[in-house]
């Protein structure tokens, strides 16, 4: 009878210890930091913003993620104020900023034929789309910033849409749950700083 009680107590203690590890220090149980790897999901979005350097409207279409061991996505950005058109040529990184926000890094070419690098930050804050966030920084791939949207938020983004438009949603950013093909390389590059 005493042995049975001791066994039960041991089991309960072990369970308590295991539970504590999971709740309090679960992240440290596994030595590799999953936060360093691209998240296994993808994000898409299209819309417009007014947080351009000139305050004019800019349109964008963007996609980012990982698929079958490679980065996935595209970028199309047009600032109507200065006529800058940035067309993505490849995605080089996809990063988790927080549970709603992702960074997409890549290479692009402008309408003037200049090869550039970009980092787009998008946030999916639900519906309608004007709750969502967008920001972009374009560099010469060696640290010189050529273009950057103005920030409303500390993370460098602003809201989609804006007052004065007939439909102020401004498009939408959608963060999607991944499928089993959404795994990427261990890391990527962002040549924007």
């Amino acid at each position: 009878m005493m042995t049975l009680k001791r066994t039960m107590m041991r089991k309960i203690t072990l369970l308590f210890l295991a539970g504590s590890l999971v709740v309090l220090g679960g992240g440290h149980v596994f030595p590799w930091g999953t936060e360093q790897q691209p998240p296994k999901d993808f994000v898409t979005g299209g819309g417009f913003i007014f947080c351009t350097p000139s305050g004019a409207m800019a349109n964008f279409g963007v996609g980012g993620g990982v698929k079958n061991g490679a980065f996935w996505g595209h970028l199309n950005y047009l600032d109507h104020g200065i006529g800058l058109h940035v067309k993505g040529t490849g995605v080089t990184n996809y990063l988790l900023v927080d549970d709603k926000t992702r960074d997409i890094c890549g290479t692009a070419v402008t309408d003037t034929g200049l090869n550039v690098c970009y980092r787009v930050r998008v946030g999916d804050y639900g519906e309608p789309g004007n709750l969502d966030h967008f920001g972009i920084r374009v560099t010469n791939c060696s640290g010189t910033v050529l273009y950057q949207t103005t920030a409303t938020y500390s993370d460098g983004t602003c809201d989609l849409g804006g007052a004065g438009t007939a439909t102020p949603d401004g498009g939408n950013i959608q963060l999607h749950k991944g499928n089993p093909s959404n795994f990427g390389p261990a890391s990527g590059t962002c040549n924007d700083a």
């Binding site: 996505g73 199309n76 047009l78 959608q174």
Partner: protein
């Protein structure tokens, strides 16, 4: 049994006849040998006839079994197959234009291949025959299915900016157009459109948000937020410009579907007669 050899009395008679011969011992030995030969012959014949019998039994059994098996196969074929496969569908395009039988697609993803697919398309600007064009064309479709449970879905979206076309004297323009479609596994598909700055023949159009809002053109119509639901998904065309007999232009089209297949248990198999005895 058939083909059995003559009775043993015949051997005894031969033995008696042989014992009357002058070379008795030898005759006896001959008789023994003969008896052994006859016995062996009897045995062989018996074996042969036995094999023949077994062979005939096998043949008979086969003739009896084959119709039975055929009947079982026919019954199984007639059993209704109710378990259907899990399928996904999804595609998106910024522009799809059909003019006099010729169709062109700008920034089209093409269809999803399977539940692990993800597709995108992008174009900085595009012309739509000689009718006009658009900028910042974007389309994406993807499966977010891992376990085919209600939290899984397929979604598609397409958007474009600065669209403007003039077809048979009808001018349609918009600053931004977007369509989105989402089909949850086992749930109701949903679709939505966003159109900013829509004008038809120079007159601003107020977009109500209702599906299939229609604005009439000279010899045609503009369908706003055109939605076509199906049993497992939906298709949303944000802006559909139709000039009868001339052009059919779709701006921002997204479709998504997720069919989890039949989850109902198939009916029990038909009652079949017992199989005939094999042996």
């Amino acid at each position: 049994m058939v083909g059995r050899a003559g009775p043993p009395y015949r051997l005894r008679q031969e033995e008696e006849e042989a014992s009357h011969d002058t070379g008795g011992r030898r005759a006896l030995e001959s008789t023994d040998i003969a008896a052994a030969v006859v016995q062996k012959a009897q045995k062989d014949v018996s074996n042969v006839s036995g094999n023949l019998e077994v062979e005939m039994n096998w043949t008979n059994s086969r003739f009896r079994v084959m119709p039975g098996l055929a009947f079982v196969a026919a019954g199984l074929l007639a059993w209704p197959a109710t378990a259907s496969a899990q399928t996904v569908s999804g595609s998106a395009s910024a522009v799809r234009a059909s003019v006099l039988g010729a169709t062109t697609v700008l920034a089209g993803t093409g269809p999803l291949a399977d539940a692990q697919d993800l597709r995108e398309a992008s174009q900085d600007a595009g012309s739509i025959f000689s009718f006009g064009g658009a900028d910042v064309l974007h389309a994406a479709t993807g499966s977010s299915i891992t376990a085919w449970d209600p939290s899984d879905y397929v979604s598609s979206e397409a958007s474009l900016a600065d669209m403007g076309v003039t077809v048979a004297g009808n001018a349609v323009s918009a600053g931004f157009v977007m369509a989105r479609a989402l089909a949850p596994v086992g749930g109701t598909p949903v679709g939505a459109s966003e159109i900013d700055g829509l004008a038809v023949n120079g007159v601003p159009v107020s977009v109500t948000g209702e599906p299939n809002q229609t604005v009439w053109l000279l010899g045609g119509r503009v369908i706003i937020n055109e939605q076509t639901p199906s049993s497992t998904g939906t298709t949303v065309n944000a802006l559909h410009v139709i000039v009868d007999g001339v052009a059919d232009l779709v701006f921002a089209s997204a479709s998504a579907g997720a069919d989890p297949g039949s989850t109902a248990a198939p009916p029990p198999p038909p009652i079949l007669p017992p199989l005939p005895r094999l042996f």
